[in-house]
Each structure stands twice: as C-alpha cells, then as structure tokens.
C-alpha cells in the first residue's frame, strides 16, 4: 500500500476506518489487488511502472451526503482525494489520480438517472451513469432522445462533459450542461444557476441564475466534486444526413471551409469539418492505411510538405480529392432537403467542386440496421472505437495531442506544417507517417481541433521519445497560439503553461481560487495544472 504523501500509516488507517463508517466496509478498497484496479489502463508510463501514478485507496459513496462526509474526513487527515465518474476516461487518466497517493472517490455507485423530462427535453443524472446505461434507460421507456455519446460509450455524461469531452451528436458536451450540484472542498453542497433558488423549478431550464456563472469553474478543475448535472437533450429528428464537398484543387479548401463554416454559423448544420484526402491517404491516425501511395509520405517528409501542384498532380493520378469539407444536418425532412439543396447551390459556385450526399438516417432507427462505426454519431453508444488501437497492434492503448485552431483552411495548413516540422526536427518519421495530415474537426462551432493519436507501446524508450515529442508539440503549437483543449494527466502542467498571458495570470487566478476554496488542498491536486499552495513549485 502506498500512503498519501504526508499522512502517516496510523492516521491513514483511521481515515479509512472513518470512510468505512460512512459508506460501509465493502465500499472502501485498500488491499493492493483492489487498489491496483484503479491504475490507468492507458498510461503513457505503461512500460515504466516506476513512473506510474497510483491511488492509495478508493472509497465508493452512494449518496451526496456520503460524498460530503468523505470530504470532511479527508480534510481532517489532509488526505488528497481524486473523484472519478465511471473511470473510463481512457487516454485521459482513466480511474487513476493525477497525484499519486490520492484516495480515489469512485462515484460509479451514484448511477441514478434522476429525471428525464420528455416534454422540456432535459435530464438530470449522477456521475456514475454511463452513456450505455442512459441509452438502455431511454429505450426501455421509449423516450425519443439521442445520447450525446463520445467514442466509446461506457464513459459518463457528467464526467465527459466536465472534462470538455465531445460527441458527434452535439459536439460540445459541456455546452449542454444546465445546472450542476457540487460538494465543495469544505463539504458544503452548492447548486448553480437557478438551483440556488430553493423553490425554483427552472434549475435545468435557465443556466445563468443571478450573478457570476460559475458552472465552468467545476469543469477540468479541482474546486469540488460534482454529484449531479442537468443536460439539455437532443430529441430524435425526423432525419439526419451528412454531405461532403470535394475538389481536386488545393486552394479551393479556403473557400470551401469558409462556405461550410458559414452554414454552421447560420445554424443550418450542427457539425462540420475539413480534410485533404490525398494528404491523409497513408495516415494510420484513424486506425488503418486506406491506400498504398509511397509518394504521399515522401512529400509529407519534406520540410515544405509538398507543393500544391504536387498534391494536385498526385490527387489527379490517384483520383483522390485534394480538398474536402463535410457537414451534417438534422431536423424535419423538409428542412434537411432544403439545407442540402442550399449546400449544392453554395458549393456549386466554386468551380470544380462536387457535392456528395450520404444516405439519410430516418428516426426512429432500427439499431440492428446501423453499421457499428456509425452508431455513436446517431446517438447509440458502443465500444467500436477500441478497434482503432487494436488494429494497430498496441497492447497499452493510446492518448491524444489535440490543439485548437481557427476554423479556417489557413490555420489547418499552418498547424499541420508546424506539427510536421516538429516531428521532422525530432527525427520521428514513424510518427510523421502515422499522423500524415489532419483536417479540422468541428466539434465546436467556430474552432477546429486536430487529434494526433499517440500509441503506447511495450517499449519504454519509444514511449519516452513520444512523451518528449508531445511536450515539444504542445510548446511549439502553444507558442503559435494553438494550445490544447484537453490533455492526459502527464501533460496537464505543460498544457496549462501555454496559457501564459500576463505572467500566467490565468493559472495564478486558478491557484488563488484553489487556496481560498480548498486550503488543505485535498481535492484532486494537480488536476489541469492547478496545484494547492502546499504542493506548488516555487
């Protein structure tokens, strides 16, 4: 057993006894074999056990009151806590704490779907509910709503949203949160927005309440333990349909991205993005090699990444577009048809651009008729996404480098060029070929992200090299204004360091709040690079 730093064995034993008095002996886990189950299954340190972060114990409350008691006990013993929802945030730490020796507060038992309001279109859930649980609940009651599931579906709507997770159903999952309940570091329960009005029935209808809007302070943070959250739901549409526009010309991507983002801005589509299919033809970043075109890697390995004319020539030879964008519309059939007609009109004005419709999905869907890899985008959680690392032969999972950029072709090219040159500088052509080129992913309406998958191997030296590369990518992209939206615990300090305006005033603000709310520094020390005073490096 490892101990929380600074806590003696006898004190820790007493703390565990007090936890057991609150939740029951069976819900405190302190044996080595039980605690090992909380290790990060996708740790970047998988091949270096001495560097892995471990819990000291775990405690699994069933009620908000039990969470309050646990927090109060932890304060008395100055034992750090680390709350998890379903603990399936693989690639972002899973069920392991950021700070070794923390006691994991495992909220999986708090798995109640407290309300689904089918008329007003919201739900209230506890952190232990998974997207798969939610789908089952909705189906059993014939409730016509989509699950805003990421890939994969065993994650928690609450945990995913709090970590700024995304889905192909709504994009920004935290954007759907309306009203949360939090146990503060002193054990008090706080409800945000209209939830602070004891008689209000609007907690999950109106987000702001009165005064500062503080919901976001409990996302990617360590200012409290969220015990329930309200979410706006997406009702089944009559139809959901995607379309793509493609061109053989490099320069067209600028006008095409501008056009697709204009449609997004107008609210005509809810999802958008762009790609350069010929540049991505050899990428394994999405799990498989689509083509066998050695010339692609030869161009990408060059400092200039290949000229537009070279890509256009190669694209023409292989009949693969150089530029493409996509959008997805959801709503009444007549609206979807009108939006698709509008898309054909808009892209028809760019000479040489072709619009391609994909089949329309009509709701209610028969899930048995849906291809597995299409399910999550239609609101049906599954675990298919794990085939991506599986087909690449890794036994230790993966994590992602994920910078944010403007939703413009210029930024997409610039970020790709920057990342490519960092990989060339690092002499890591294997990673460069794996990455290839990434288009912009439009989970957020006016920004794109890139997701570079880093596979974890049974090779400590290679994993170290990839971690070093990750840091160089984060620092170089950060210096150019493209910081990350989210990161595994091993890199959270690095990512937070990129948000350095005015001598890191944002981080210092977080620290001021942290010290005021949590003077003993017991809630998730180090989460998102926010350390309590006692653990801050000078």
């Amino acid at each position: 057993m490892i101990l929380p730093p600074g806590v003696k064995q006898g004190e820790f034993d007493r703390a565990l006894s007090e936890f057991a008095a609150v939740v029951g002996r069976d819900w405190v886990f302190s044996s080595d074999s039980d605690v090992a189950m909380y290790d990060d299954s996708f740790s970047p340190f998988s091949a270096e056990p001495e560097l892995q972060r471990h819990a000291s114990a775990a405690v699994a409350p069933d009620t908000v009151e039990q969470v309050q008691s646990i927090v109060r006990i932890a304060n008395r013993y100055k034992a750090p806590l680390y709350a998890i929802s379903t603990g399936r945030n693989l690639g972002y730490g899973g069920s392991a704490p950021v700070y070794s020796g923390s006691v994991v507060v495992d909220l999986k038992r708090m798995n109640r779907i407290l309300e689904v309001n089918a008329v007003e279109g919201y739900m209230v859930v506890e952190p232990g509910v998974s997207f798969l649980d939610l789908r089952r609940y909705l189906d059993e009651r014939n409730l016509p709503f989509m699950c805003s599931t990421p890939e994969p579906g065993w994650g928690s709507p609450v945990g995913n949203a709090l970590d700024h997770g995304c889905s192909n159903v709504v994009g920004d999952n935290f954007g759907m949160v309306n009203g949360i309940e939090v146990v503060l570091p002193n054990g008090e329960v706080l409800r945000t927005g209209m939830g602070a009005v004891p008689t209000s029935k609007l907690w999950h209808n109106y987000r702001y309440g009165f005064g500062p809007v503080i919901d976001g302070m409990f996302s990617q943070s360590n200012f409290g333990i969220v015990t329930k959250a309200g979410f706006w739901l997406i009702r089944w549409p009559e139809v959901q349909q995607s379309f793509a526009a493609t061109s053989a010309k490099h320069d067209d991507l600028h006008a095409m991205v501008e056009a697709i983002q204009r449609m997004r801005e107008q609210g005509l589509i809810f999802m958008s993005g762009c790609a350069s299919p010929i540049r991505q033809a050899m990428s394994t970043n999405n799990g498989h090699i689509a083509e066998d075109i050695p010339e692609v890697n030869r161009l990408l390995a060059r400092r200039d990444g290949g000229s537009p004319a070279e890509w256009e020539k190669l694209g023409a030879e292989r009949n693969i577009p150089v530029s493409s964008v996509f959008g997805t519309v959801r709503g009444p059939d007549v609206v979807a048809k009108a939006v698709l007609a509008h898309a054909r009109d808009v892209f028809g004005k760019i000479p040489g651009v072709t619009v391609h419709d994909t089949p329309a999905y009509r709701f209610p869907l028969n899930v048995a008729d849906i291809d597995e890899n299409r399910k999550s985008g239609l609101g049906f959680p599954q675990l298919w996404a794990f085939s991506q690392p599986a087909v690449q032969g890794t036994s230790f999972g993966h994590y992602y480098f994920s910078p944010m950029m403007k939703a413009t072709a210029a930024d997409v090219f610039a970020v790709n060029d920057t990342m490519r040159n960092v990989m060339i500088d690092a002499g890591d052509l294997d990673m460069l070929y794996h990455f290839g080129f990434s288009g912009g992913i439009g989970f957020y309406p006016r920004a794109y992200m890139i997701l570079l998958e880093v596979l974890i191997r049974d090779d400590a030296a290679l994993n170290r090299k990839r971690r070093d590369l990750f840091v160089r990518l984060a620092q170089t992209c950060g210096a150019n204004g493209w910081a990350e939206y989210r990161a595994p615990p091993a890199f959270q300090d690095t990512v937070m360091a990129q948000y350095s305006f005015n001598d890191h005033v944002l981080r210092r603000f977080h620290e001021t709040v942290k010290d005021a709310l949590d003077p003993n520094g017991i809630i998730a020390p180090g989460k998102s690079g926010i350390w309590p005073k006692s653990l801050r490096k000078t």
Partner: protein, 129 residues
C-alpha cells in the same frame, strides 16, 4: 501478456464477497442467465462475434477490439469470439477482468461486483451440449 500491477501477480479472485451489487443473488450458485445478461452489458461491445458493417467497410470498420485481438492471437486455432470458447477457466476470466489484458482495461468492483463476475464466469464456462 497479463499486466503485472502494483498489487503483485494477478490473483485468483475467487472470494465472493457479500455486500456488493448483486449480493442479493446467491453467491454459491451463480446465475448463468444473469451472467449472459451481464456479458451483453459489459463484454459484448468488444467481444461480439461480428458486427454490422457495409460491404465496402475497411478492416477498421468491420471489427471490434476484443474479437479482432483474439483472432490475431489464435489465427483460428481457437474461436475469436469469447462466447464460442469452451476452454475458458474461472481463473483466467477473473484475472483478465480484474487486471486487464492487451487493450482491455481493468474492471473495478464498483463496476462488476465479485458476485456478478462469478455470474459472467458461469455463463462463459457453462456446460455446452
């Protein structure tokens, strides 16, 4: 390769502890039907024999992680789909569930209790005609 965890060598987790989810069910006579239901809830997503996919699906689009990995390991000498295996033992199942194997993550007792794990095991090791 089994993952070696801080807790030492993967242990045989045969002790069925009352008090966890599912404890109301008899621990000494695991319910095979319940095990089937739990398998579908927790395991099927990665261990389905096959999945629905279009005629032009790539390798990635036509497999799930667990079945694909076992296919690569056994190359047909054993069934890739867990439900078709007849050689699984309680020791192996319990160890893999609790300690993970390959891409499969560890599964905590708050997710699958020991009683539930015994039911899944009973389903996967049930007598076949």
């Amino acid at each position: 390769m089994l993952r070696i965890t801080a807790g030492g060598l993967p242990a045989v987790l045969a002790v069925l502890s009352l008090g966890f989810a599912g404890a109301a069910r008899a621990a000494d006579a695991p319910d095979v039907a319940m095990g089937h239901e739990l398998f579908n809830k927790w395991c099927y997503g990665c261990h389905a024999a096959s999945i629905k996919h279009g005629p032009d699906a790539t390798l990635l689009g036509s497999v799930v992680a667990g079945t694909y990995t076992l296919q690569q390991r056994y190359h047909g000498s054993k069934p890739a789909a867990l439900e078709e295996r007849t050689d699984l033992t309680p020791t192996l199942i319990e160890s893999v569930v609790r300690h993970g194997l390959n891409l499969m993550p560890r599964t905590r007792k708050t997710e699958i209790s020991d009683v539930e794990l015994a039911e899944i095991t009973a389903y996967l090791t049930r007598a076949r005609p």
